[in-house]
């Protein structure tokens, strides 16, 4: 495998993120202007100074014009990218590689999604003409199959399993409650979560990511130029991406207790960054907790703990904000909300705040000042048919 990465060659020098919420009073244009404006201001640059733009949106607009028009960009290359729910990370990956190649000095990655204009709850993919044999389950139902499979394989009592999942949601709600930009800012005790009625398999709506509108943005340049824009750049250590081929859906050996695409992208990212013990080396991780069982399995796929042990680690508080390895200190998809195209950059925004010591006191990770690396993990698709991004940054 010749995934060389661009370790220590590109830096993030400015970021912006809107509040994630049901922004019935804001359109895609408003969200884009708000997120990019914060990033421009932070880096002390004007839109004209940025040489190229990458816009990630799953279905809130087509083509680069979706960004060029609200920002009134003149003669700039703007590329729209889409990679399921990993769209925001994909935008960052492309912008970073463009700068690393030398093609541009300064590039911006923007992610946006305006999901609350559909009139329906949840996320809805626009239909691509097909033969009508595709399954029509919600993502919640697809991921709900992970919980019983995991419980069965590792001998976890079904009731204990429910507690484990509620513990994950409760942790992310506790983190989101301390985050002014999060969609849900209310703590949810485990007992209350356990009483929620199931809507998909054993999952209640409180096991699902918040459905929100929002936008986030990052400005990248070559590491040697970073000091021009900030004295605390976030240096990219690894950007890894894997698109599964969907074979898991038809593979009888696939048991819904792991996501192979994630394990492969994580191994690649750790190799790029030179990380051998992620649990000990990472200061924090933002992971794609689209549903509570997803976060559970990700702890193992990302190598934070051994197979079959994540449920115990969750109960032990290992991934709490004051635990050994804080996971989703900003509230995660669960509590911060999930505007599809923006989520990957929102994760990076939390790394930006935490590693640079800008996260408020009551949300600061326990590892601050002791470790200097953060991981973002962003996936799209379903168990058996998934894309996975793993990024690692450091200060």
């Amino acid at each position: 495998m010749s995934s060389h990465g661009i370790r220590d060659r590109v830096a993030i020098v400015g970021m912006g993120c809107t509040r994630f919420a049901e922004h019935f009073d804001k359109g895609t244009d408003d969200l884009l202007r708000e997120a990019t404006s914060e990033a421009f201001t932070g880096a002390g640059v004007r839109k004209e100074d940025v040489d190229a733009y990458w816009l990630g949106t799953a279905q809130s607009g087509m083509s680069g014009i979706t960004l060029a028009r609200p920002l009134a960009l003149e003669g700039k290359p703007v590329t729209r990218v889409e990679n399921f729910c990993a769209t925001g990370s994909e935008a960052l990956r492309q912008a970073a590689y463009a700068v690393a190649s030398g093609a541009y000095d300064l590039a911006m990655a923007v992610g946006v999604e305006k999901v609350k204009d559909s009139g329906y709850q949840g996320l809805n993919a626009f239909p691509i003409p097909n033969d009508g044999t595709q399954r029509s389950l919600t993502a919640a139902a697809m991921f709900s199959m992970v919980a019983p499979a995991y419980a069965k394989r590792y001998g976890v009592d079904p009731n204990e399993m429910k507690t484990v999942l509620a513990r994950i949601a409760s942790k992310n709600h506790a983190n989101g409650a301390r985050n002014p930009k999060a969609q849900f800012r209310k703590e949810m005790p485990v007992e209350k979560l356990l009483a929620m009625p199931p809507v998909a398999g054993g999952l209640s709506v409180f096991d699902c990511a918040g459905v929100a509108d929002g936008s986030a943005a990052a400005i990248v340049c070559r590491v040697e130029d970073a000091a021009r824009y900030t004295d605390k750049p976030l240096v990219i250590k690894a950007l890894s991406f894997v698109a599964g081929n969907g074979s898991g859906l038809e593979d009888p050996s696939y048991d819904y207790t792991q996501f192979p695409e994630v394990a492969v992208s994580a191994a690649d990212a750790y190799a790029q960054a030179g990380i051998t013990d992620p649990r000990a080396e990472l200061a924090m991780a933002e992971v794609h907790d689209c549903f509570t069982p997803t976060e559970l399995v990700l702890m193992e796929d990302l190598g934070f703990c051994a197979r079959g042990t994540a449920w115990k680690e969750v109960l032990a508080g290992t991934f709490d904000r004051d635990g050994e390895l804080p996971v989703n200190p900003d509230g995660g998809l669960k509590s911060f909300g999930h505007p599809v195209g923006a989520s990957g950059l929102r994760m990076m925004y939390e790394a930006w705040l935490q590693l640079r010591g800008e996260a408020p006191e009551d949300r600061r990770i326990s590892t601050y000042g002791k470790r200097s690396l953060a991981l973002t993990h962003n996936l799209g698709g379903y168990p058996g048919e998934m894309v996975s991004f793993v990024g690692i940054v450091g200060v």
Partner: protein, 454 residues
């Protein structure tokens, strides 16, 4: 010699308790149950199921297919071609619709019976009427198939002996295309027409067959005019105990499917050397005489009628009405599915209709549920969606929707078989594909038939 070389039937899983009708409709109802096609069944899918049951019992490839119904999924477009595709018949096998009245079923039965090659007749019906109407109460949903052939194709189970028919124009019931139910003329009028027509047809066919009415071992009478059917049977000269039960209390009258369903039911109860007479009253009278052979004793029908009648579950009247589109309930707050692409479906016919995957045909296999989920959020014509990952006995896997199932009864390890269904309808296009259903009627379960025959 020409004869029947196989048969199969499909009685849907669901039953409506007729006593529930008057509680809601304020009128109608009665005793017993009627069979109800599920929300994901139509006359085409039920015909496929009956055809599959038939072809699973006899290994002969039909050279033609005739499909009869009073309730086609499409007009202008042939419906039999979808059945042809789902049965994975050869391209050279021609498929035709015989659509409109119960008599269409006899037309199809004769067209296949008088053919020279193996020919499959399938009849299927979903009978609806306005809430509280006699047609709603008396109707039933079902399908049946009969495969005709020559001695050289397979052992004849019942030889064709004779046919006679008479035609007469009169209006005892009528339905304008698009109407929910039929309208009926005063019942007595039809009865005075049909009883003499029946007598005339039976007299002629018994003459052709050179038999006396009292020597008939089983008389099947089919037709939408219930009183006329009963009166014609009574006047036939065939002893009362030889008249085949019309399954009124368990299935109801499945219209164009009734002649074949009752014939299949009669064949499943028959012993070698018996004479079976089929009488159909529909704008005239058609009568056919068949004689069973020794081979019928060793024929094991896949999913016998009696077993399917037993394996059922109740559906509440309100849900039944919503399934038939007679009670428009609040749909799930999800976008309705887009219509399937005709060209994409055309390229994928082997998969979509034949469930012929990259590693072999899954349609006729059984499998085991590896994991499952119940989705109360996803769009469905009848939520919730019950969905499972199924591992088939040949090692293939398919994540697929379940049907004919109560969400609470699903369990890991449950055995399932495949069934052809209509997933949804969008822009008028019926989106056909396969689902899995719990295995309830074993194909090799011939105990019941042996018992009845003895």
């Amino acid at each position: 010699m020409r004869g029947i070389i196989g048969w199969g039937a499909h009685v849907p899983h669901w039953r409506l308790d007729r006593t529930q009708i008057a509680l809601v409709a304020g009128a109608g109802g009665g005793k017993g149950h009627r069979a109800v096609a599920s929300y994901d069944e139509d006359t085409t899918t039920m015909a496929v199921e009956a055809g599959r049951a038939c072809l699973a019992s006899v290994d002969v490839a039909p050279a033609s297919l005739w499909f009869a119904t009073t309730s086609p999924a499409y007009l202008d477009k042939t419906n039999a071609s979808a059945i042809h595709a789902a049965l994975r018949l050869d391209r050279s096998a021609t498929a035709y619709d015989a659509v409109g009245s119960v008599r269409s079923a006899i037309a199809a039965l004769r067209a296949t019976g008088e053919n020279r090659k193996p020919a499959l007749c399938v009849a299927s019906d979903v009978r609806i009427g306005r809430p509280g109407s006699p047609d709603e109460v008396n109707g039933g949903d079902a399908a049946a198939a009969v495969l005709w052939g020559n001695e050289t194709d397979a052992p004849l189970l019942a030889e064709f002996v004779a046919y006679a028919g008479v035609t007469e124009e009169f209006v005892d019931r009528w339905r304008v295309p698009g109407d929910v139910g039929s309208k009926l003329w005063e019942e007595r009028f039809g009865e005075t027409k049909y009883v003499p027509l029946a007598a005339e047809a039976l007299k002629t066919v018994f003459e052709y067959a050179a038999i006396a009415a009292d020597s008939v071992d089983a008389l099947v009478v089919a037709g939408l005019h219930e009183r006329a059917c009963a009166a014609a049977a009574k006047a036939s000269g065939v002893p009362a105990e030889k008249i085949i039960d019309r399954l009124a209390d368990t299935v109801g009258n499945p219209g164009a499917a009734q002649p074949l369903l009752l014939l299949a039911h009669a064949l499943e109860r028959a012993t070698p050397g018996q004479t079976i007479a089929l009488l159909v009253l529909s704008d005239g009278a058609d009568a056919m005489v068949l004689r069973t052979t020794d081979a019928i004793a060793s024929y094991a029908p896949h999913r016998p009628v009696a077993a399917q009648v037993m394996a059922s579950a109740p559906v509440p009247y309100g849900r039944y009405l919503s399934w038939r589109g007679l009670l428009p309930v609040e749909p799930p707050r999800r976008p309705e599915p887009a219509r399937p692409s005709a060209s994409a479906a055309g390229r994928a016919t082997d998969w979509k209709f034949g469930l012929d995957g990259a590693s072999g045909v899954l349609a006729d296999q059984r499998g085991t549920i590896t994991t499952f989920t119940v989705d109360k959020l996803a769009y469905s014509p009848s939520p919730p969606v019950v969905f499972a990952v199924v591992d088939f006995d040949d090692g293939q896997r398919l994540p697929v929707e379940l049907t004919d199932v109560d969400a609470d009864e699903v369990a890991i390890g449950m055995r399932v078989e495949m069934t052809f269904r209509r997933l949804f309808t969008a822009d008028g296009i019926a989106n056909y594909f396969w689902k899995a259903r719990p295995l309830r009627t074993e194909s090799d379960d011939s105990a019941e038939r042996t018992e009845e025959a003895s």
